[in-house]
């Protein structure tokens, strides 16, 4: 009885290792890899909090993969990519090098840095993907993920740029730059707040204040510099402590997640929310979470942009199929589909000029959501992201000097 139970459990959990050997794949041609990928299953771990993004992946992408490549796409919804980093790390520590449970991750920033530093990423294969030719790797905002060189360890999926949202019915003329926003906060007590770092979105808001205090990002680019940091950080904490009494609940407490800030904004308690991906505002309006009168905008002194990627862990047993998935995600057709307002509204990670005339016409025909500031408009004042060491120092500094 017990023995048959153990056998049953082993049978239900055994993973068939087919294309775990990344080095062997790198020696193949693309056609051979596509052939190896046929019949494979890809477990894609990705943030699962938006029904339209889930539907795009489960409906559109999965159907293309099944139809063209006989690949089964298994979308695994997660709350935070850090969970997956830990999962792969635990697997590595347990000696699982060729039968991991994760084949693909939607990732960027600190999580990418963790995976790269711990040698958890499959690297050096991206040139094999035919659609890699559509990516402009000369763009530093794509070749670097939060300042960490990508080095062929991940493939871009979307580009985003930070924007603020306001309700045009109650606040028709929002402040246009950081200095005006700080004045507005002091003139309207209790109507503004931001999520406490290390929340991803709260952290980027603090970086905008940091750039403002530094008089622009130029002095901050490159490796971490303690002397520069000390000067700029002192000014930043002074600004943030100065506005603290004018924040929501007198600054006695901060939201801990962007979800909480979104809820405060939806209920009219605060006048602004913000997001790294302005398409989220359109999604929230379509879902009825925000009123139709919500509009979004960047700052004239610029907002921070970044790229998010997909990554194959070193121990994925389905690397060939995962590479095919990445190639499909990069295709002009798939990038166009997710750029459609009613699908997602995500800005492409590829150069539209390098795609087919049909795809280019499709992009030209997209009518944006009225609540989403067009990415071309934001791009006119774009700020680069800092290297990860700066991010960590700013988050730690905020905790010690502002959020105490």
């Amino acid at each position: 009885m017990l023995r048959s139970l153990v056998v049953f459990l082993l049978l239900t959990t055994a993973a068939a290792a087919d294309t775990a050997d990344g080095e062997a794949l790198k020696a193949m041609t693309w056609d051979e890899i596509v052939e190896q990928a046929r019949g494979g299953t890809v477990n894609w771990f990705m943030w699962g909090g938006a029904d339209n993004i889930n539907a795009y992946v489960s409906d559109y992408v999965a159907a293309v993969l099944k139809r063209d490549h006989d690949i089964t796409l298994n979308r695994v919804p997660i709350t935070d990519a850090a969970e997956v980093v830990n999962l792969v790390l635990t697997e590595k520590e347990a000696g699982i090098t060729d039968s991991g449970s994760v084949d693909l991750i939607w990732i960027n920033g600190e999580n990418f840095r963790s995976m790269k530093q711990a040698d958890l990423a499959f690297c050096g294969y991206t040139d094999l993907l035919p659609n890699n030719a559509l990516v402009n790797w000369d763009n530093p905002a794509i070749a670097n993920d939060f300042g960490v060189p990508v080095d062929g360890c991940e493939v871009p999926w979307n580009t985003v740029q930070f924007a603020f949202a306001h309700d045009s019915a109650t606040l028709p003329d929002p402040p246009q730059d950081m200095a005006a926003l700080i004045d507005w906060i002091k003139a309207n007590p209790g109507r503004f707040t931001y999520p406490a770092p290390p929340d991803f979105t709260g952290s980027v808001f603090v970086r905008h204040v940091f750039y403002h205090a530094a008089g622009g990002p130029d002095a901050l680019l490159g490796p971490f510099d303690q002397a520069t940091f000390d000067v700029v950080a002192a000014r930043t904490w002074a600004i943030l402590n100065e506005i603290e009494p004018f924040l929501w609940r007198g600054g006695a407490t901060y939201p801990t997640t962007i979800t909480q800030l979104n809820e405060l904004f939806a209920n009219g308690e605060v006048a602004f929310t913000f997001n790294y991906d302005p398409a989220q505002f359109g999604i929230a309006v379509q879902a009825g979470i925000y009123p139709d009168t919500v509009r979004s905008f960047g700052l004239t002194d610029g907002t921070i942009g970044n790229t998010n990627y997909t990554l194959i862990p070193f121990n994925s047993p389905n690397k060939a199929a995962a590479m095919v998935v990445q190639n499909v995600l990069l295709s002009g057709e798939a990038q166009l589909e997710k750029a459609r307002t009613e699908v997602w509204g995500a800005a492409p990670a590829i150069e539209i000029t390098r795609t087919t005339p049909e795809v280019q016409a499709g992009f030209a025909a997209i009518k944006g959501h009225p609540s989403v500031v067009p990415s071309e408009e934001l791009a006119r004042a774009a700020l680069p992201e800092l290297q990860a060491d700066w991010l960590v120092a700013i988050e730690e500094g905020w905790k010690a000097n502002v959020g105490n």
């Binding site: 049953f8 459990l9 082993l10 049978l11 239900t12 959990t13 055994a14 993973a15 477990n43 771990f45 943030w47 699962g48 909090g49 938006a50 029904d51 889930n54 539907a55 489960s58 409906d59 298994n74 979308r75 695994v76 919804p77 997660i78 709350t79 969970e83 997956v84 999962l87 635990t90 697997e91 520590e93 347990a94 000696g95 699982i96 449970s101 994760v102 997640t257 979800t259 979104n262 809820e263 939806a266 209920n267 009219g268 308690e269 879902a287 009825g288 979470i289 925000y290 009123p291």
Partner: protein
């Protein structure tokens, strides 16, 4: 008569306390925009239900997986827990207190403390990423309930009835089928109910041991709750609550009904 009135009022209050928390969930699941200070949503929509019941959301698939895992966990827990409970309830032996303590320990220690270590152990055993491993992991928090309840049931069980049946020529399985089982049935059902609900509500153990690939309803529910999608969360939450309510409703009679065979007293 008077006490009867109070009983009815008490029951009504209890029912209200159980049902009230579900009302906002139901409203959320049908709301298209429900913001302060509106008492009711501005518009109604079936979009959240459409999504929750559609194939890409995976909710229905998760429902079956969650039911299967909870049923299998309950069955295995009963298989282990009934003999263990009998031993603890009917016999005194050296180290019984220690055994009891070890039995209760998983219910006292929070899952977050054991999940990472357990994940490592299961990884080395090759038991991660499948329903089999998740069922095994769910046994850890469910067994204490099963064993403790069965120990209490057997403490009130008089083995004289079994002896009588045997002396009348009953085979062991006949004794079990016609004497022991009917006597412990209400208690066993209560224990199964607990086991089912404890397995039903597992989040961390499922996430760790299932490597995210075994998608039970709590996992799906949390990814929407954390993203602030109250409409979809409401719909999934109602689907999530239903089986529990059904199980309780179906077994309530048996659980409260007292069986004559248990009346022998301690």
């Amino acid at each position: 008569m008077r006490s009867n009135h109070w009983q009815i009022i008490g029951a009504a209050l209890l029912a209200l306390a159980l049902i009230l928390p579900m009302v906002p969930l139901a409203i959320w699941s049908l709301a298209h925009g429900w913001r302060f200070p509106d008492l009711l949503p501005r518009a109604w929509s079936l979009k959240a239900w459409d999504y929750a019941l559609s194939a890409p959301s995976g909710v229905l698939q998760s429902l079956w997986i969650t039911i299967w895992i909870a049923l299998a966990t309950t069955a295995l827990a009963a298989l282990v827990g009934v003999p263990a409970g009998r031993a603890l309830g009917l016999h005194d032996f050296r180290g019984k207190r220690l055994v009891l303590l070890l039995m209760i320990a998983p219910a006292l220690i929070p899952a977050i403390a054991i999940a990472p270590g357990l994940h490592g152990v299961f990884l080395r055993l090759g038991l991660t990423g499948g329903t089999g491993g998740v069922i095994l992991a769910h046994l850890i928090p469910t067994l204490p309930y099963m064993v403790l309840i069965m120990a209490a049931v057997f403490a009130r069980f008089d083995t004289v009835h079994e002896d009588q049946a045997r002396s009348l020529g009953a085979a062991p399985w006949q004794v079990w089928r016609h004497v022991t089982l009917p006597a412990i049935a209400p208690g066993l059902l209560t224990a199964c109910l607990f086991a089912f609900l404890v397995s039903w509500s597992q989040y961390l153990l499922t996430l760790a041991v299932g490597s995210g690939r075994v998608q039970t309803l709590p996992l799906l529910l949390y990814s929407f709750a954390a993203a602030g999608r109250n409409d979809v969360t409401g719909a999934i939450a109602l689907i999530y609550i239903l089986p529990g309510v059904l199980v309780v409703a179906l077994t309530a009679r048996q659980v409260t009904g007292r069986h004559p065979a248990l009346m022998a007293g301690p």
